[in-house]
Symmetry: C2
Subunit: 488 residues, 2 copies
Amino acid sequence: MGSEKTEKEENIGLRYRKSDFSKWFNEIIAKSELADLRYNAKGFLVHRPWSVMTMKAMYRIYEAELERNGHMPVWFPALIPERNFKKEAEHVEGFAPELFWITHTGDRRLSEKLALRPTSETAMYSMYSKWIRSWRDLPLKLYQSCQVWRCDTKATRPFIRGREFFWIEAHDAFETRKEAENQVKVDMKTTEQIMHREFGIPFMFVQRPEWDKFPGAVHTYAADTIMPDGKILQQPSTHLLGHNFAKSFEIKYRDRKGNEKLVWQTCYGPAIWRILASVIAQHGDDKGLVFPFKIAPVQVVIVPIGKSPAVKEACKDVRNRLADAGIRTMIDDSDKRPGWKFNQWEMKGVPLRIEIGPKEAKSGKLTLARRNNRKKEKISNKGVVKIVERAGNKITASLIKAADKFFYENIRSAKNMEELGAMLKLGGLVKVNFCSVESEGEPCADEIQDRFHAMIRGTRVDKKEKPTGKCIVCGKKAAHVVYVGKQY
Amino acid sequence: MGSEKTEKEENIGLRYRKSDFSKWFNEIIAKSELADLRYNAKGFLVHRPWSVMTMKAMYRIYEAELERNGHMPVWFPALIPERNFKKEAEHVEGFAPELFWITHTGDRRLSEKLALRPTSETAMYSMYSKWIRSWRDLPLKLYQSCQVWRCDTKATRPFIRGREFFWIEAHDAFETRKEAENQVKVDMKTTEQIMHREFGIPFMFVQRPEWDKFPGAVHTYAADTIMPDGKILQQPSTHLLGHNFAKSFEIKYRDRKGNEKLVWQTCYGPAIWRILASVIAQHGDDKGLVFPFKIAPVQVVIVPIGKSPAVKEACKDVRNRLADAGIRTMIDDSDKRPGWKFNQWEMKGVPLRIEIGPKEAKSGKLTLARRNNRKKEKISNKGVVKIVERAGNKITASLIKAADKFFYENIRSAKNMEELGAMLKLGGLVKVNFCSVESEGEPCADEIQDRFHAMIRGTRVDKKEKPTGKCIVCGKKAAHVVYVGKQY
């Protein structure tokens, strides 16, 4: 770490992202004022404006895409009666240890306790059975943007693991299995469209092994990303629920021939909160945050050099033109020195900075600085809106490129356990031949867990991979190619 | 009711809004699919897409205005430790009976119980004391859009009184009392700007009597509206908190001379959920909902007449042009008859309907129907975007005009108790001379409550009104002009 550090970086106080990722991550969250960890209930985060503005932009983009593919927004109660949970056996077993229970109001004991939603299947599906009567009511595709509460007892980490987090959950019901399977594919495409192409986070969709499915699902497909320290972070997952919940909640419809049938269901859960963790981690650098253009809380900061009326006027004029074009723009006219401001807004990840001094105010040229590569150029004042939009898109494209490079460099193959161990030390995903992912308690998975503290993430979804050799653990004929990684 | 009813209204099944308001209100909420009351936890509402889309539009407009006047968004935890509540004595006393308490996670008992926020003072101010150090940190103006939970034991009513409701709360801290008092005025202006001019809900801001303040406030100013049945509904209120919370949470700053001082605080709470109740009630009619243009979930519905390719093409073309201009537009190309569709979308309150048949597709003329007055006119296809925008604004203006008329017609004066009784029977607000609003347990207020089940709402804020006679109850010299009404 030490030697390459410049004085400026010392001032900012950040450590190098790669060499001490955990420290860097916590420091950047505090220093850029994304969140405050000092709230006096354990595992709960106070979200400050800088993270809220970013997540609001992320929500808007995600919601628009869900609505484009036929979803409508709902708001269900955050409280779920105990009896609803008990309806789906696997579901209650999976979530019971993590539920927050409301037992009293005022000083009166409730006749039935209420759980804070850890996810909304058991709230929503109790109504789906009332709303769905005929094939004409299908498909039913609803989503809600909300927070959920899970009392995870593992160490909490801001935006990665906490007791309250912000997400979207989409819950769909169909006439046929084929439509449900197709929805799962659409969910994966949505993830690609938004998380990768807009937020710049590459991932691999894998089908989770039997023992790692969402409680109540037939199949779980999850997007695994790689963090800068090489650990795996689960991002949006989509689930084929089949008839499991339809049976327990009696969600039935009359088909076109008048026969009563169970609906086929799916659910999809992009956790905006956790995607933000990837955005912070993936794009940040030694100077601080770097935001993709579309989700930056402030997209352009204008820094006046000097205080002449001409400079002030020019700043306002540029700000107004950018704001009118829908670009989130602010002027930093505080009393600090320009150099301090440059550092500050670079640390906060604002994609573009425009500097306007007396020369710029006169000449019709402005100075444009890019956060990602810290290059400066002179641009025409007249064309500023188009130039900013183009530069914004270029920044996002270059963030995606760098993130992709890192991601694919960190997918490796191992032929035996020694190689697997060595590669897991490098981090990322390791591809191996494996015997079985079909039932709980596979000893070969336990072996990998015990020896390397790593997990079988699952089998790749975007292409079929046929195993050619033997299981890396037991040496029996391999039935799957799986990916292994250490997770958060 | 009976005689004026037409067959169509029978079909829709609504009752006249004025003669049986409660029934009309519940029916329109169910039939227009705003919300479902059948969720199996008492007092909790399932918000269906039609209400969520409306409230999202309302949130966007309100948030933009708050940000324009210097607020930034935050998200605080929904859970508040018991010790935070206990810090401000009046506050805990006011909210304690209504708190939802979390006592367990999984099957473990918590060492300190956590309340679901009924409002966020005690969550937020615990951090304000950490964030505010110097006058340079002031003013601090933050808001959050969230839901709150209060276990009101009175009869619940959708969007009016429930155990979970959606609102915005803004919490501001200042150096001086003057700035805080000014913020209260700004909050009242914001209410006028948004609730009246955008949502079409007229109101009167009154300063609440001592016994009816927000728990912990020095002064409470609340916007009272009148519902169609003559009852009063409290809308946004803004509170001068003074030093009350600053003392209990030790929110101090160093002033410009280096002296340590307490901050001055205010908070403001527009309940989007309850404003929607007013929107439904105020603008609706015997045919169903009527939305002001800017908050309509769908602003324009296009109904094709016939199924010719030319008609389809024309519908799509108009839809695309409207959507490109940011107008929420849908084509209803379902299999129902046009007449059924007209009724359906009128019931759901869509402000404008465009009908396109073979004639319209050919001629370059379209048929535009307005929801509020149900008038039809021919418009030019070319100019549709501008015409729709203009018509939308006109609709909102005429809704405001009608609502204002109703509101001011229902403010009356009474000289004695008999008159007061007669006027309270007519509904609305009644202006009377009154002795004292300065301390708890005023016998004259109790007398009005006992005799008429009505409450002293408070003294008018927008103009000083000097009493000239005697208190309407006890006959002593009147010190205030107050407004009396029956509330929800």
